[in-house]
């Protein structure tokens, strides 16, 4: 755990993992990135808009027999909506994303681009377009492209593996399967990342420290 002072406002900020070099200062929204010997300020993150997500920073849970804590969030938007991607840090130091849209949750982990052999995926990595409905093979399972669009980073908080300034645009492709498995590919100026996982329910994550909301009782599955 690295604790430093924010170069902009002086508040104490901490970095929990060298794999997550970026974080948004909780007080002044400056994006801080650790590199080499020091901490650099790299622009500002926008303030998060109001939402009624049950997930919040500090929420704990379990997935695949490993416990995690929510330590970061990026909010993405496109012309017809927006959603949250929460960063989960597991007790073994690994990280995963919990995507939240339309009340449905997807838990995905980053996967090396080099491993992926499907030709449609290679085309996407090369910068080409692939139509919605195209089938891809992933580890012997069939997935189809469910949407492909430009998305913009709207806001961010907490610790992140990359710096997420407001206005940052990325081309994002989502994949779905019949079994609940899902994946997504994000491409921007030459670099592509791929995330693979499945739909989960909050119930199965046995969450503790969920956000309490006025007028709503915490659910039975909350720990």
């Amino acid at each position: 755990m690295l604790k430093v002072s924010c170069p902009n406002c002086g508040a104490e900020v901490s970095f929990r993992s060298p794999a997550l070099p970026s974080r948004v200062c909780d007080y002044c929204q400056t994006i801080l990135v650790r590199s080499g010997g020091g901490i650099e300020a790299m622009g500002k993150a926008a303030v998060l808009p109001f939402d009624v997500s049950p997930v919040m920073m500090g929420m704990r849970g379990t997935f695949d027999n490993k416990s995690f804590e929510v330590i970061g969030r990026v909010r993405w938007g496109w012309t017809d909506g927006s959603w949250n991607e929460w960063l989960l840090l597991f007790n073994d130091g690994s990280a995963a994303w919990l995507g939240e849209a339309m009340g449905q949750f997807m838990l995905t982990r980053e996967r090396a681009i080099g491993e992926l052999t499907d030709p449609a995926i290679r085309k996407l990595i090369d910068g080409e377009e692939v139509p919605v409905g195209t089938e891809i093979g992933l580890d012997g399972e069939l997935l189809i492209v469910s949407d492909a669009r430009e998305v913009t980073c709207l806001a961010a908080e907490g610790e992140l593996p990359f710096s997420a300034p407001a206005g940052w645009t990325v081309f994002s492709v989502d994949f779905r399967s019949t079994s609940g498995r899902c994946a997504s590919l994000q491409r921007e100026s030459g670099t592509t990342s791929f995330y693979d996982g499945r739909y989960v329910t909050l119930d199965e994550l046995a969450p503790g420290g969920m956000r309490a909301m006025e007028g709503w009782a915490l659910p039975a599955y909350a720990r």
Partner: protein
């Protein structure tokens, strides 16, 4: 915009953070068209909200609410008002949106969007005949032989190639809904459940709906739910199916019992066997045969008369069994006859030479069988043997038994009658239910369809028997 009441920003810690004070759950907004105060109940998810005062459509995907379409219309009053809460299947839900959709203007139905931040979205849907509780799936069904299968359950096609259009919209939704938008629909059913597929150019979604008991819906939202829908809803289970299965089991056991009893007690014991000489002169004579001793407390006594090979003659027999001790009489009658000849169609024959009369409820005792009989020749103008002298023997045998085969038949019929009734009602129900279907009657209802005017793709046996009239 209401400020979010988040936890106090503080130093990050790895230990569990203390629970935050409850955050606000709605976002207040002023309608850009009419200025009315609106509340966004699913902020962060909601993309479009329709002003509940003036029906204007507002885009809330971005922090600044943007007016999409301005309307100045009175808003429809809803059966379940927006903002109402109800508990269904153990979870509290808030009504946040309302849609009225139809198949190009006909067969309309209503959908209410329900929300709970910890459980996501659900739908309650009604077509005026009943309510269903729907959930959008995160997985697609597999394809089985007759239709889709989900979690090991198969669904049968009901509506295909439908086109659902939005006719009216109120409240908030997680997509850019607008009046007139269309999706291609297909619906598949199994008793109590409907699996629906909706597709437009950019996406496909599947929703699984459970048929709700009217009491459930009434208890949740305080409305009056329709009951006894007719025709039945597409996924309404036949109320006759389960009782039919259970009753059929009972009926089968009872029938088996009867048959076993019939075999066990179906035997008969021969008590008397002798010949009765008969002269075919038309004269009535009386002969007393016996003694005949019957042993069981009660029994059926069968009196059999076998008239050998008489032809074109008959023997009339009046039987009276007389109990020697009590002089009680038991009467019966027998007719042994046989006729034959030849005409333009060829040779013919008729009649029964061997006939048995069964006397019921004969108590134990020793009896005499008094037979009053006459032998007669059948005379017609072309066949006349004249009178006199022709004689023969009629063999009379008397046995005691218990089981009347007719009783077995009657009992089985009585047993099966209610089952048949239930079965016919079940067929009637299923035919009515499938009446609206795009695939026509299938399964049992299809087998009993006859030459109805619905699309026929089931096993319609009438095809085998119809002549060339369609």
């Amino acid at each position: 915009m209401l400020a979010e009441m988040a936890s106090e920003p503080g130093p990050d810690t790895v230990a569990a953070a203390p629970p935050a004070a409850a955050a606000a759950s709605t976002r207040a907004l002023s309608c850009p068209a009419c200025g009315g105060a609106i509340e966004v109940r699913a902020a962060g998810y909601t993309v479009t909200i329709v002003c509940r005062y003036c029906s204007s459509v507002i885009d809330v995907a971005n922090p600044e609410a943007r007016l999409i379409t301005k309307y100045e219309e009175a808003v429809q009053e809803l059966e379940i008002p927006l903002g109402a809460r109800g508990t269904l299947r153990g979870v509290e839900w808030e009504v946040i949106g309302y849609l009225r959709r139809s198949e190009h203007g006909s067969y309309g139905w209503e959908e209410y969007l329900l929300f709970n931040p910890y459980y996501g979205y659900r739908w309650v849907i009604t077509n005026g005949r009943g309510w269903s509780f729907g959930e959008m799936l995160t997985r697609a069904p597999d394809w089985g032989v007759g239709g889709p299968a989900l979690d090991g359950q198969s669904y049968n096609p009901f509506f295909s190639n439908g086109q659902a259009q939005v006719d009216y919209v109120l409240g908030e939704f997680y997509w850019r809904v607008k009046v007139g938008e269309e999706v291609a629909t297909d619906d598949y059913v199994r008793p109590g459940w409907m699996l629906s597929r909706e597709a437009n150019e950019s996406e496909i979604s599947w929703t699984l709906s459970a048929l709700l008991d009217p009491a459930e819906m009434e208890g949740a939202f305080g409305i009056i739910a329709p009951r006894d829908a007719w025709p039945p809803l597409p996924h309404q289970p036949s109320p006759y199916a389960r009782p039919l299965k259970a009753a059929a089991k009972i009926g089968a056991i009872a029938a088996l019992l009867l048959i076993v009893l019939a075999f066990a007690f179906g035997g008969s014991t021969l008590l008397y066997d002798n010949n009765l000489p008969v002269t075919f002169d038309g004269q009535t004579r009386t002969q007393t045969l016996g003694p005949i001793t019957v042993t069981r407390p009660w029994q059926m006594v069968a009196i059999r008369a076998d008239a050998g090979n008489i032809d074109n003659a008959w023997v009339d027999l009046d039987y009276t069994l007389v109990d020697r001790a009590t002089q009680e009489t038991y009467e019966s009658y027998g007719l042994a006859e046989h006729y034959s000849g030849s005409d333009s169609d060829g040779p013919w024959e008729e009649g029964s030479r061997d006939t048995t009369a069964k006397v019921a409820m004969v108590p134990a005792g020793t009896y005499d069988l008094v037979v009053e009989y006459s032998g007669n020749l059948w005379t017609s103008s072309s066949y006349s043997y004249g009178g006199g002298g022709y004689g023969g023997d009629v063999r009379i045998s008397v046995s005691q038994g218990l089981v009347f085969p007719s009783n077995v038949i009657i009992a089985l019929v009585l047993l099966l009658l209610p089952l048949l009734f239930l079965f016919l009602r079940h067929i009637r129900f299923e035919k009515a239910r499938q009446g609206e279907s795009d695939v026509g009657a299938t399964g049992l209802a299809g087998a009993f369809s006859g030459s109805d005017d619905d699309d026929d793709s089931g096993t319609d046996f009438s095809d085998m028997f119809s002549t060339a009239d369609d």
